[in-house]
Point group: C2
Chain length 234, copies 2
């Protein structure tokens, strides 16, 4: 039996040993969901940046640049951060530079892993099947919110732990807790998450459709893999 463990925040990742493991980085609202949407609709490569300035500088290298602050596309950027932007394939063939604070931090703090994937509900089953097929321990790295525990990333981690219970045992307390929480709340994630701080923030920005996309399982069939600083379809 292989193992699965969960790190609840990038602030706790130093307590985990990443060596030899597959790390699944999760930032459900909305970084990793947007990445899956983009890769699933023809974007060839994604690079992430914590700051708007770094991201903007990628324009000169031929990247589409996506940047949003407080729910609005930033002046001078091509796109905001909505996953829905990519769904019609309009940007197929492009390379994308995007800003995300929590997601970028989690990715950069996962570099000691053997392999880094991104996790999101839209490609849940494809990722799950891949994880079952490889002979490696798994760590789910929740991006959280400014270092804190967050509900949507944690529920994804719980869903993955549940999905892997035939092949991966969970010995750490976080995976036991979140598997159980997902068993209780997984049948109506949207309702449960509507109480949560981050979902409330997103609702204030009128992005209900984004939330629906981010919580809908299996609309996109791909694995997103982060390697040498760039995310591509694997």
């Amino acid at each position: 039996m292989r193992n699965i463990e969960i790190c609840l925040s990038p602030e706790l990742i130093h307590l985990h040993d990443l060596k030899g493991k597959t790390v699944v980085v999760v930032d459900i609202f909305r970084a990793t969901s947007t990445m899956v949407a983009a890769l699933g609709n023809g974007i060839k490569e994604i690079r992430t940046f914590a700051s708007l300035e770094e991201c903007k500088s990628m324009k000169a290298q031929g990247y589409l640049i996506a940047g949003e602050r407080n729910g609005h596309k930033v002046n001078g950027f091509d796109l905001g951060n909505s996953p829905l932007t990519y769904l019609d394939g309009k940007y197929a063939g492009e390379k994308l530079a995007m800003t995300t604070t929590n997601g970028t931090l989690a990715l950069s703090k996962s570099q000691d892993a053997e392999e880094i994937l991104i996790g999101a509900f839209p490609n849940f089953s494809t990722t799950l099947d891949y994880l079952k097929s490889i002979d490696r321990d798994i760590l789910v790295h929740c991006a959280g919110w400014k270092g804190r525990f967050n509900l949507e990333d944690s529920l994804y981690a719980g869903a993955l732990t549940k999905g892997l219970e035939g092949t991966h045992q969970s010995e750490d307390d976080a995976s036991l807790a979140l598997k159980s929480l997902f068993e209780k709340e997984g049948n109506d994630l949207k309702k449960f998450l509507s109480q949560a701080s981050h979902a409330k923030r997103l609702q204030n920005h009128n992005i209900e459709a984004d939330i629906d996309f981010c919580l809908q399982e299996d609309s996109i069939d791909l694995i997103g893999k982060f390697e040498k600083g760039a995310l591509t379809k694997f």
Copy 2:
């Protein structure tokens, strides 16, 4: 409506604002449970120390010293760390110095709070009633295990959040998650915890009776308050 929030580990406490709040420090296996047992059986005052050496030095000041490593009382110490030690009132009237790594860290990182209590299941309802009666926001500070999330401290935090839902709203994601988890698993904590890493460690030390004491609600009627470096009955 007042607020309740949960900090899952001392490693995350810098993300929380403690000012003006009542902080409840929780280290179920076994520091705060042992403290409640000791105070409830006549111990006048408790001081905690991270190291055996510091703790031992308190002997010269007339303190009983309790120190345990790897499940065994340390040579030269009066007592181990079991809560059961105190139940017959044999040490009534004494002052106690005890070692605890996770609990000491959580207490020392709670100093910015308006008030610091210790939380444990044996004095659950007394503490709950007190928290309802005061006009203050609450932060539950889980001591965790070497910085990581731990199940027993988190379930206590969830139980408290559930118990306070008439007076205190939970806006942070951790309290929403743990309240829901307690709703699911709270009716058989021991069974759920038997899967957990820390409970497994304790079982290896043959301290099943300690676990039973630590998970049993309301055997002791007191509030434990930490003030000026010492814990006393409030």
